[in-house]
């Protein structure tokens, strides 16, 4: 049985296709203005890439903040459930998941069967999300792709104390004008995110083995800062960013 998962996030839209539980392929595009169009496009592009007809796909499950805007899917499931299922599929040993996406961050605790036991999400605030990093990258005029590696070279991370993204940005601007090294500022930004997410993780009772998913998992600076803060090793799959879409596709197999 071939199933597909589409994860429409606030920044990027992801798709994954599975055949009898085996991953056939994934794709990531920018969401842009139109969530529904992004969902359709990423799905069609992936099918073309894999040389599959739409009729070959038995079930399509959508997830992410735009999950209800795509009408051609069989079911919409929240990203909490999908990230739980996806992480369990990629790493059956996983018991906790930290997912940092574009507009929210979440911590999910799953049981030995991959079912969600508990979860927490950030409150109405961009601190501790991918959007926070984007704002900071712009202020620092650094490409987000090199953010992680730069921060690993930091001598002593700056202290970013504000919880508000806008105020944190002005903190960063004053650090820049004070002549602080870019690496230290970036490391400080990562520590600030880690502190916020770690508090949430402790609140829901995070347990190892811990995996990290979502686009921000590609940023080694954040991963390292979180490992330090939580005193726990974090495993990152090469499919971390498309984990939600994979989870959705896995759910498609078991759906009645």
């Amino acid at each position: 049985m071939i199933t597909a998962g589409i994860d429409i996030g606030s920044i990027s839209t992801k798709a994954a296709v599975l055949s009898d539980g085996k991953l056939l392929g994934t794709r990531v595009i920018f969401t842009g203005y139109h969530a529904e169009a992004a969902g359709r496009t990423v799905f069609e592009e992936l099918l073309t890439e894999l040389g599959l007809e739409r009729s070959a796909i038995r079930r399509v499950i959508s997830t992410g903040y735009g999950r209800n805007s795509v009408k051609f899917v069989d079911k919409a499931v929240t990203e909490i459930t999908c990230h739980g299922v996806g992480a369990f599929y990629l790493d059956p040993g996983a018991r906790s998941i930290i997912d940092i996406g574009g507009q929210d961050s979440k911590v999910i605790v799953i049981d030995e069967k991959g079912k969600v036991k508990n979860f927490a999400m950030n409150d109405k605030c961009a601190a501790g999300t991918g959007r926070f990093l984007e704002v900071m990258a712009r202020a620092l005029e650094v490409d987000l792709g090199v953010f992680g590696n730069l921060s690993l070279k930091a001598g002593s991370p700056s202290r970013i104390s504000s919880l508000c993204t806008v105020f944190a940005e002005s903190e960063v601007i004053s650090l820049i004008s004070g002549g602080e090294h870019r690496e230290n500022i970036i490391a400080g930004i990562h520590e600030s995110i880690a502190a916020r997410v770690a508090a949430m993780a402790n609140r829901v009772g995070v347990v190892p083995p811990l995996v990290m998913t979502g686009g921000v998992a590609k940023n080694m600076g954040v991963v390292k800062a979180l490992e330090k803060k939580l005193e726990m090793t974090i495993r990152v799959s090469e499919y971390a960013q498309v984990n939600g879409a994979i989870g959705a596709a896995v759910l498609g197999m078991s759906m009645k």
Binding site: Y65, V77, T78, I80, T81, K115, V116, K117, N118
Partner: protein, 428 residues
Amino acid sequence: MAEKKTESMNLVQEIFLYFLAGIRRTLLRFKKRKKIKEILTVYYMEAKSARISGRKVAWITSGGPVEPLIAMDVIPVYPENHGAMIGASKMGTDLCETSESMGYSTDLCSYARSDIACATVNGGPIGGLPRPDMLVCCNNICGTVLKWYEVQARYFNVPLFIFDTPFCHTGFSEEVRRYVRRQLDEYVLFLEEACGKKMDHERLSNVGKLSLEAQRLWQAVLDTTVNRPAPMSAFDAFYHLALIVTLRETREAVDYYSRLLERMNDRVARGIGAIPDEKHRLLWDNIPIWHRTRWLSEKFASHNACLVADTYTSAWCGSMKYIDENNFFDSMAEAYTRIYLNIGVDEMARMVLAMVDKYNVDGIVMHSNRSCKPYSLGQYDIAKIVEKERGIPSLIIEADMVDERSFSESQVATRIDAFMEMIKAMRQ
């Protein structure tokens, strides 16, 4: 000159309201099935024309001892009930912004903000509350009410009585009983001075009996939801609650809840549920998100989940056990001190656990209310205790009871959807 003109216009308006209230009350008397809205309309009309009828109006906090007011023929008016009406009619954000431009902080309770703003602009769904002759502030629900009522006492230049109920961390001591009991005497003296007449203690005792009867009926109504399916939901309780808050010591409330109980028992007998297909039962904690009750109700119903009980509406009958029917006046001291918001988190958790068992719920939905710190503090601990003791999960929703700016629909929707997916998966 302009002031004089407004004043005479107000007087004409009040005379008109007075006669209209008289007619509506007579009509209501002959009506068999009174609607809550009709009862409240007459109540507010009478309060707004109290100057004409020669009665006094007292503003009182929702948890305040109201029975002595009734015994003195004073009309009690509840700014918090008014706040709920403002929230439900989605007028909260505007009024909160008005109070913020007056200099009040956004961190202040939105009931307080909207009430303070409303007093100056006579806004809101009923054109502002009737002018008070006195204020009665009981701090058993929170500390904010102290400053809020002081502000209003200065604004309206009326006397304020503060009824201080010490927080009961672990229990209730003899010293606290004596301390609060003595204030009841002071309260009576305050009312006698404000009204220029003596308290009729026999009447007070009768008012107390009626109040207790209404509370028992209200509890009985809430208890009908132990049945599967529940004949009503917490969202219905939020609606029917209005009388137990504002008119609990009246024959009208007793009659209303007697009939409501009959109706609910009938639904139980016929197996009619509040939602079409009740599969999951949930408990609500904290003050409703007044501006989103319908949306929330539909959201949960779409998951076949019914909020069968809540810690909020039961608060108005939660301390019945401390009331002595034959000595109402003395027992008020304990009953008004040991209410849900004035006890320690351990005892709150015990009460929540008892409700979890009684109503047989599968999960708890907690509204972490930006406005209400005493209610929201301890929610994480209570959630952990319930999880540990009964293995039941809790969902925490961040919002505000009145201020719509603290609500994000898509974020709350995702949390509810994920919570329901989790509950469904757990029960598989």
